[in-house]
Symmetry: C2
């Protein structure tokens, strides 16, 4: 894992980032892989590098606080890669929470931030609860609409337990992720009827309908409503771009993204004693797991429980990088003149820790 | 509307509340009716009175701050009716937001608070964004479970616009409300297959299955995950009861409820200029409404848009109280020796303003 991290840092440094910003980017990507969220892990590296090389994101950004109160701040990301600004914002939220009980820090003029869970979880070692929310390019239909005119605006919450690992919810507000639909299209599979409408607004089980002008459906009118408040809190409140103003970060690598995000830290000790909180969290887990099960269900899972198991496994066994991704990363290393982990060359898919 | 409000206050005073607490309760109930959320309006009055008369809720509570930081507080509700504690908590959150940019105030030892929207909307006249969240008796299955062991834990967000009224999302985390299923059972109607499972955990379109030991389904695993964080932020963080520890407020009128809730106010001026914010909100509304429509859909609605139209209509025409509810409220007036609005006696269903 250290080798993988070093590789990612060297890729970003070779693309013009400072060493410290490169480390921040690497932490965000490698943690996503470590927790099994491979869609947001090193697979994104070539796209992020293109953002730096094509000028959509700045290599030497000057991130600064543009508005501040004791419990809040608004940062200007100066077009840094999103994880750099988001990490700065979350760290500031934690600092504010230590003094005020809560920190609520937003950012504008930003970029794609990766998994929201990464920032929410930064609160945990401080005995705090963390929340992160971002808006993004319009990849979902509003309730009643048939084209993608609102972001799926993911949100994450993280809270510590005593013996069950971190409880972490990280979710987009569409029924299914666009990536899953594109994968089904590639594999010639059908999809459930409630994921997608075609360009006429008719429900379809054909994943090809997305590329043909279809739209991803929101998680009911409630998911749509939450996405609207994602736009309000991350976009309108921060003076950022919203809805269709936001380009797709992985496609328009030469354009500024200009989205916004929100980071909240809540200091548990200002409410209840943190050890009592964590013990009570274990009680919450036990009570939920005692629920009688649906047929064929083996266990009630808590949010983030599967990711926590994957993390523990991969910390021991190394992160599994699929062969095509390893090949892409090897090509990227050659292009930038940096050293790739030895495992990328081997036929093994594992990058040992 | 003033006559209705006066009637509700006199009912609460006759049940032992102070005049000021009676007014707080009336504001919460009448606003719910005014916005068309009749399920949470004066229809609840007899149950709330029973809570006071049967001793589940205290008539002369001593609500106090038990833990505080500059941006946060934890209140002990001393078993007051929930709307009283929630109003106190939201007012304190607004006060803190004015000084710190954000106020985050929680409460324990509380009771049913009515619509969350009522508290979130209290932030609006202060040019603030409001959020309210509560846990409650277990009326929903966790993801993969087949009995009601978690609350549907409603959450509300409110933000101001310039010319579209308040944008307000108020939602429980189940697919459908229990009340709608009980109504379908009463009317002998079928329900969609994704609302309910029977006591064996099988999907069913028979609303009778709920009373026969079935369970309400959460809004997917995402709705379940949000409900878990409702328990964490409103229950675990406040030292309140959680999950199955919480009795049903409308049934166990002699028992303390002991749930918790959360109130957040965000001062817009600490981020962007409030008038610019509201203008930009109008832009958000216009962009969303310009989305091409699904077949048979006439308009993209914003969260709370229908409630806002109902409110404007009823402010002119008076609140429509259905005849059976008026009859119940008349009986309650007789029982407590207070004067009921004249319209309760008439055959008209309207209570003029």
């Amino acid at each position: 894992m250290a080798e993988m991290q070093a590789y990612v840092v060297s890729v970003f440094v070779a693309s013009g980032l400072s060493e410290i910003d490169g480390r921040t980017m690497a932490a965000s990507l490698v943690e996503a892989d470590l927790r099994g969220t491979h869609s947001h892990g090193v697979i994104r590296l070539p796209f992020l590098v293109n953002r730096l090389l094509d000028g959509g994101a700045k290599r030497q950004p000057d991130i600064r606080v543009v508005n501040e109160a004791p419990g809040t701040a608004l940062l200007d990301g100066d077009r840094a890669l999103g994880a750099i600004t988001a990490t700065r914002a979350m760290d500031l939220a934690i600092e504010k929470a230590r003094a005020q009980g809560i920190g609520f820090v937003t950012a504008r003029n930003s970029d794609f931030i990766g998994t929201c869970a990464h920032y929410a979880m930064k609160a945990l070692p401080h005995d705090m609860i963390g929340i992160a929310w971002t808006n993004g390019f319009p990849g979902m239909a509003p309730w009643g609409g048939r084209s993608n005119t609102i972001g799926n605006n993911p949100i994450a919450f993280a809270a510590p337990s005593l013996s069950h690992g971190p409880i972490v919810l990280d979710m987009a507000l569409s029924v299914a992720a666009g990536g899953r639909i594109r994968l089904a299209a590639k594999n010639g599979e059908k999809i459930p009827h409630d994921w997608l409408v075609d360009s006429d607004g008719q429900p379809t089980d054909d994943p090809q309908a997305l590329a043909a002008g279809g739209a991803l459906l929101p998680l009911g009118y409630k998911g749509y409503g939450l996405a609207v408040f994602g736009e309000i809190l991350c976009g309108v409140l921060t003076g950022s771009r919203i809805l269709g103003e936001i380009p797709a970060w992985f496609k328009d690598t030469g354009s500024a993204i200009g989205n916004g995000h929100l980071h909240i830290a809540i200091d548990i000790a200002r409410f209840v004693e943190p050890e009592a909180f964590k013990l009570r969290m274990d009680g919450l887990v036990s009570l939920l797991k005692a629920t009688p099960l649906m047929p064929e269900v083996r266990e009630i899972l808590l949010p983030g429980e599967r990711a926590w198991r994957t993390q523990q496994q991969q910390e021991k066994d190394g992160i599994a990088v699929p062969a095509p991704v390893a090949a892409d990363l090897l090509a990227l290393a050659l292009r930038l003149g940096v050293t790739a982990p030895a495992s990328f060359h081997s036929s093994s898919f594992d990058c040992t820790p």
